[in-house]
Amino acid sequence: MNELSGWGRYPKIKTKELTPQSESELLEILRHSESYIPRGNGRSYGDSAINKDLTITMTRMNRLLQWNQESGELVAESGVLIADIIDIFLPRGWFPYVTPGTKFVTLGGAIACDVHGKNHHKDGSFGNFVNWIEIFNNKNEVVRCSSDENSELFHWTIGGMGMTGVIIRCSIQLKKIESGWIKQQTVVNNNLNETLQSFYEHKEATYSVAWIDCLAKGKSFGRSILMLGEHAQKSEVEAKPSNYPKRKNKIITFPFDAPSFLLNNFTVSAFNRLYFNLNKNKQSSYVDWDSYFYPLDSIGDWNRMYGKNGFFQFQCVLPRELSEQGYTKILATIQNKSSGTFLAVLKDFGSGNGHLSFPKEGLTLALDFKASQKNIEVGKELTDIVNSLGGSFYLAKDAIINSSQFTNNFDKDEFLKHRNVAIKSEQSIRIEL
């Protein structure tokens, strides 16, 4: 037995973990198991990739199977990491179309969570660039699905949190780029209204994301820094030492769990103030891909910052027209309950993709909370606010909501037709997915 948790290190659950290396080994495991969940690199935050009986970790099925340098189509096993894809294909002029805030996710996990990036408003989520997927269905047969073939299964698998079957391999489309540099521009917004307006004004930008100071009060309530980005053309970065810079070394690795008193209202609000002031004078600069997309990856095991009890994330999406009202309420709740959060990130979403996918038209907010009983209560309160406004939750981040709070809109009967009943996660049991 092994103790596993998601990236938030909360909750921690004892489970048997197996790591198959080939399709035949995987099939052998599935044939003898009645209850299991596949797991990628363990970067979802909560308990969505843990099953008490058996957790099947796919990171050893990580082979690249076909590559087309002309078209950018990659066929690979589901345990391949986005980090590997960048290491290998960036020097050949290709980059993932969609990437989440860490490069240490597997392809299988990216599909199952239908992850999004800073370009969702323009390009949509990861599932938009998946050509086909092969999974073991509920009879343990290999089935290929795509938007043309078994299309319903395809759309339930994208964003389906692994419930339709273990993803064995897939074909994805990469994006042709001229350099590994991003032209970054920052826009300072002094309050929530300006923040929301600013997304609208810059909707043509390829990448956009706002860091929001959720502890600022009064006339600065909801102030933020919107960070915009474009892939730099080759001609723009000729002076740089390399057109395709390599992955950065980790600056530091958290060697132990930080003492939990380190994060308190005083330090968090000081951090927020400092961060705002450091960034507000930056205007336009060229940043390498690793620093731009994955700032936190450079701090190894940063999840230890929240102490040994871990932390949880809260991420919701609210319909655009209710965003200002909703986020005013949410930020006010955080301030009143004194549950300051280091990382509050706001992002504009375009329309969704898979039937169970999280992204839909509107604005999404992601927050980190130290996993204390008090904060879990705050999280539940926020959940109710989101539900009252018709919003929904990102299951890849969730560790706390219950089945009555899980109101994401989908056709349950249709879902059950494609669901593999042997597949269960602690989360799917908790929210009765």
């Binding site: 290396q21 080939s22 082979r63 076909q66």
Partner: protein, 244 residues
């Protein structure tokens, strides 16, 4: 040394062999992979080709079919610069000690096959005038232990064969390297409960192998050096009472 940067990896499906393939490919080596049921290598082969843009050729080889060895070497697309053997089978001591056929299989697979094949390749290298022979043996061969002496004795034979060959070829331009890992986290050891501190990863072995690829010596993998000195020094009258 030559510039035909090619390594032949025998027993290419083993986890150590796969790690070695990645390491050498990442350093620009072309690969010749030999294994039984070699079609199981298809995914690994495409992966290596895409990742490192190198040539990979695959050969069907049964380490117990000695009569095929000459033909096998002739059929290689070139005589490689380096030949590495990672063939091995752990067996199950308590079952095997009651069965001639099981024991024979473990002995032949770990000792006879690898020794005969590497011996023949070494002859070809010597005739050509250069080359490097690498054998993955085991610290299990250093002293017979109650829990795995069939495997251990076969590895011991292999280690001794390599050591003799190293001495014979000392004056030539052919190097002979023996790597003696302790516990490695692989398919072969998955059913064992290995002590974490003493267990290395296949990647650790591949890095050491690459670094010492042209050396003529016997290498115990770091933390095991001292342990094996101690194990060797235990007097037989005490050692025979141990069960580990």
């Amino acid at each position: 040394m030559s510039k035909n940067k090619t390594i032949l990896i025998i027993g290419a499906k083993s986890d150590i062999a796969v790690a070695v393939a990645h390491k050498f490919a990442s350093e620009g080596y072309n690969l010749q992979l030999a294994a039984r049921n070699s079609s199981e290598l298809d995914a690994a082969v495409s992966d290596l080709k895409i990742r490192y843009k190198i040539n990979v050729s695959v050969y069907e080889l049964d380490i117990l079919k000695y009569e095929t060895f000459s033909y096998f070497i002739d059929s290689l697309d070139c005589l490689p610069e380096i030949a590495l053997c990672a063939v091995g089978v752990l067996g199950n001591q308590t079952d095997d000690e009651k069965s001639f056929s099981n024991s024979t299989l473990v002995m032949r697979t770990n000792y006879e096959g690898p020794s005969l094949l590497l011996g023949e390749i070494a002859n070809r290298f010597e005739a050509r005038g250069y080359g490097s022979i690498i054998g993955i043996s085991s610290v299990a061969g250093v002293r017979g232990r109650a829990s795995n002496y069939i495997y251990g004795s076969a590895k011991s034979g292999f280690t001794t064969f390599m050591s003799g060959m190293r001495n014979r070829l000392y004056q030539s331009n052919v190097s002979v390297l023996s790597i003696l890992p302790g516990f490695v986290n692989t398919k072969m050891t998955r059913s064992l409960n290995l002590p974490k501190l003493l267990t290395s990863q296949p990647e650790d072995i591949s890095k050491i192998t690459y670094k010492y690829r042209f050396h003529s010596k016997e290498l115990k993998v770091s933390s095991w050096k001292i342990i094996m000195i101690v194990i060797r020094l235990i007097p037989e009258f005490i050692f025979k009472r141990t069960k580990f």
